[in-house]
């Protein structure tokens, strides 16, 4: 980075070119910031290594158990189901906890004010965080991918079932990430952080169980494809509005200028007299502590 910043021989080595590509100008600034932090993050490194270790242990167990050809196909399916549990564990349990911490940090460490004055919108913050969450999920999946290939070679697993289960796990990760981000954005102090952090872990655990169970069902009951597709559509239709509401809530919590605390806008003339009083959000049901007359009186009687 420093090489690139200093401008000396920028873009000459392959490392520089790779860096230029990774941190392209078109990237969301929050995404590029979090990408840099993720690379140095101990949480990510440890989780990635744990995923690899668990996959190796599963493979070892498989090798020890697979002694005859008659067990071949069944063991392939079992191995694959273990792998998706590991993926769901890292994607649905670890990532939302990380995103919760990142979103809460923006508020608690007062970095949000600097980010907002730099012109970054809450939507950009959330999309940046969500993208980094999904990137982490893909990186964990990349660690599992060679083992899934082994399970496929062992037979007993359908390719379409693998793809659909993979998509399902990523969707589970997306849902838990949105939940983690939203709860993190709602943090205001140590107490709310402790309560919402606990809720996040609980919610993530439930989503992990749901995702892992659905993945098992999909792998073992793949023969009944129409039922699986219908179930998938129903789950999507149920979860999509919930996720949209959660994102809306997170956006509102990341706004510095909350319109709900200022239900009026008073325009003054050159002499400081009230020229126009514009009540805002009349239909929101919000009640100001002062009435219109009181506000005008307070301003004009100063």
């Amino acid at each position: 980075m420093n090489r690139a910043a200093s401008g000396d021989q920028a873009g000459t080595s392959w490392l520089d070119r790779l860096e230029e590509m990774l941190y392209s100008d078109r990237l969301n600034p929050v995404f590029s910031r979090e990408l840099r932090r993720m690379v140095k993050s101990r949480t990510f490194a440890i989780t990635f290594q744990l995923v690899l270790l668990l996959c190796w242990l599963s493979y070892l167990a498989l090798v020890l158990n697979t002694s005859t050809g008659s067990w071949y196909m069944e063991q392939g399916l079992t191995f694959c189901s273990y792998l998706f549990v590991i993926l769901a564990l890292s994607s649905c349990l670890v990532i939302p906890v990380v995103l919760f911490a990142l979103a809460a940090e923006e508020r608690q460490e007062s970095t949000l004010e600097m980010v907002v004055t730099a012109g970054i919108t809450p939507e950009q913050i959330l999309s940046g965080l969500l993208s980094i969450g999904m990137l982490q999920a893909l990186l964990y999946a990349s660690a599992i991918l060679p083992f899934i290939a082994i399970s496929y070679v062992m037979q007993g697993v359908d390719l379409l079932a693998l793809l659909l289960t993979f998509g399902l796990t990523l969707f589970g990760s997306l849902a838990s990430s949105v939940m983690g981000m939203t709860l993190g954005a709602c943090v205001r102090g140590p107490t709310t952080r402790a309560i919402l952090g606990g809720l996040n872990v609980l919610g993530s655990f439930i989503l992990f169980i749901l995702t892992a169970s659905c993945a098992q069902f999909m792998l073992y009951q793949f023969d009944d494809l129409p039922s699986i597709m219908a179930g998938g559509v129903c789950v999507l239709a149920f979860l999509a509005p919930i996720l949209a509401i959660l994102l809306g809530l997170a956006i509102n919590h990341l706004r510095m200028t909350d319109p709900m605390i200022k239900p009026y806008r008073v325009l003054l003339d050159e002499n400081g007299d009230v020229k126009k009083f514009i009540p805002r959000y009349q239909n929101s049901g919000y009640q100001s502590a002062l009435t219109e007359e009181e506000v005008i009186r307070e301003i004009t009687n100063r």
């Binding site: 980075m1 420093n2 690139a4 910043a5 200093s6 401008g7 920028a10 100008d25 990237l27 600034p29 590029s32 910031r33 840099r36 932090r37 140095k40 993050s41 940090e105 608690q108 460490e109 007062s110 970095t111 004010e113 600097m114 980010v115 907002v116 004055t117 730099a118 012109g119 970054i120 510095m256 200028t257 319109p259 605390i261 200022k262 009026y264 806008r265 008073v266 325009l267 003054l268 400081g272 009230v274 502590a289 002062l290 506000v295 307070e298 301003i299 100063r302």
Partner: protein, 352 residues
Amino acid sequence: MNDSDSTVDQHLDLNTSEPEGEQAAVATATAPERKPVLEIRNLHRFFGKLKAVNNVSFTAYPGQVMGFIGPNGAGKTTTMRIIATLDLPTAGDVFVCGHSVVDDPEKVRSKLGFMPDSFGKYSNMDVVEYLDFFARAYGFQGQERKDAIERVLIFTELRKLADKPINSLSKGMSQRLGLGRTLIHDPQVLILDEPAAGLDPRARVELRELIHLLATELDKTVLISSHILTELGEICDSAAIIEAGKILIHGSIEDLKRHRPRKKDQETGLQALAVSVLSRSNDLRLWLLEQPYVSSVAPAAHRIVFEFSGDEGEKASLLKKMIGQGFEVTEFAGKSETLEDAFMSITEGIVQ
């Protein structure tokens, strides 16, 4: 109107009792024929019944370093947050380079750099990465971004620490980095909320020099709040004193230092004097206590300060008597006023 309101109004009367045109003269003397880059017009911010900012108005010009002084809870930070587009006014408006914070917050942000009193630092990030993030946020691309980062690193003298993790920086270096961040997009107006808080004397002097450079060399307008008034007296060329949400006085630092509550002075005819002697300072203190027109005698560093209610002839007579008593007088003068004196005489310590 309650008691606190009446005391504030008394100060406002004192302020407006200045000879006509004096206020305007201060502004025009600071920046003749220049348009203000920061203009606060009848700003109000109410939190329910609490009037955090109550009809605040002032202007600042290019190259001006303006102090924003007030006790805790006076409304400084609320005003600064509104200027920085982090809050909306109940009434009134703020214009930065002609753009309204209410109607054009995006344009205001491009012209303004805000350094809050406490700002967090991201973990797992080094100095260059931190600046790179904000340069991206302000829309800098490619070489332009690299140049902006380089310019800030050189100006803040952080070049050697470019690869250091920001969490390992000292408080002074962190403040430099914070200032560098506010400068990354080369804003015309800088809002610095308590930038010298917690800094050691060397770091404070260095920060002061940076701010001085920004105003004099780069023609930036700096609005700076601090509780360290001696510091502000040295950095700023003008100041506004705020209490209970209202501006009590604003003008050049010299005018503020000279300011006394005039009504009180006129009624009592008091003036502060200081005297230094080679020896027998304790005897002098006791002797002064017995003299007519003399009150509030107190020892200060190497001198004695007291209040004198007599006229100029009586003052000359006092000095003559003092020398006649054998005191070896080395200094006899009006006590020099500091910004701190002005602040204490102007504010009442009202808490809302």
